[in-house]
Symmetry: C2
Subunit: 193 residues, 2 copies
């Protein structure tokens, strides 16, 4: 029975796709590289790895090289690659925008090595398409609740909208950059392999 994957699970899949690693490596990754949204604690990562292993999405091989201390290196299984790709290429919905911007950005960050630049661009366009009505919604909501909110509440709301608009602008820039790069380089549209 395949259960749904949690957020940390996808982050792990993405990192492992970029480079097979041990649990410790992954922890360091979270600690240093400002993916600090995710936990660096062993109590989160090791159980998460075991869950992914249970779902057959990753497989661990005990490293027998140089050092004697055991070290399990995990890598994606074909099933894991598939799950990661489906997560990344999933179209962006309105609900995701509400609380999950970080997650969407993570999907995009992993997208190029996992699904190739063309699918990356699709994701950006999907994000852009979801962003437009979402911003309209926010504006309407602000209008509606303007009177009942204190000044600081209204300002905070406006700040949220501005942040979303900023994201939209970034999306536009990223799309043009990506299109340019794709024209410049070869038209390799297939992911790694």
């Amino acid at each position: 029975v395949s259960t749904a994957i949690f957020s940390l699970g996808y982050a792990l899949l993405g990192l492992l796709q970029q480079k097979p690693s041990s649990g410790y490596d992954l922890r360091k990754n979270f600690l240093s590289t400002s993916m600090k949204t995710y936990s660096d604690s062993p109590g989160a990562i090791y159980p998460a790895l075991r869950r992914l292993q249970r779902e057959q999405l990753i497989r661990g091989t005990i490293e027998e090289t140089s050092a004697l201390r055991r070290r399990q290196i995990f890598h994606l299984t074909p099933k894991g690659v598939d799950a990661l790709q489906r997560w990344i290429t999933r179209p962006v919905t309105r609900e995701e925008l509400v609380g999950g911007k970080d997650q969407i950005m993570l999907r995009f960050a992993f997208s190029e090595p996992a699904v190739g630049p063309i699918a990356s661009l699709e994701l950006l366009k999907s994000l852009q398409a979801a962003l437009l009505p979402h911003i309209q919604n926010l504006r309407k909501e602000l209008q509606a609740s303007q009177s009942t909110m204190p000044t600081s509440g209204r300002l905070a709301f406006e700040g949220g909208i501005r942040g979303t608009e900023c994201l939209l602008q970034w999306t536009q820039d990223a799309i043009t950059k990506y299109a340019k790069e794709r024209k410049r380089g070869s038209l390799c549209n297939s992911p790694t392999h």
Copy 2:
């Protein structure tokens, strides 16, 4: 024994300070008003209310008006007001910026009715002060990891930085707006009471 309050708990305190409400009202608030970051589910809210009640931060009174069906209206105790104010006026730290921008915005949104406009302004300045070095950090990190990241990863990172810069700009705007408003209106610096 007073335990630390969770994020949802503060959201509830803030809403209850604005207006005493029942659990159901609070749920509707989360459902409609795009504080959808927080859960609308009874399985989250009712236990949360009980925890706050256990900590003596809120008190519920059964409404005896019109309708016969029971409805418990919660309101803050003095201890609850204090906890809310301490949360809001807490200076913004670097760690909070990493994963907790929404929470900071929530603090600010609640700030004016809870601690008054002067403390609101303090919070904005604290945010601004924390934002500056944080952005520098992000830029340095981008430089450092530029080479090892795929294009989409770099773009996503840049997007994150842009969002943070946008927040900084908003902070500046909000500060000037607030200062203007304070000059215009009366200098009432005391919160509600």
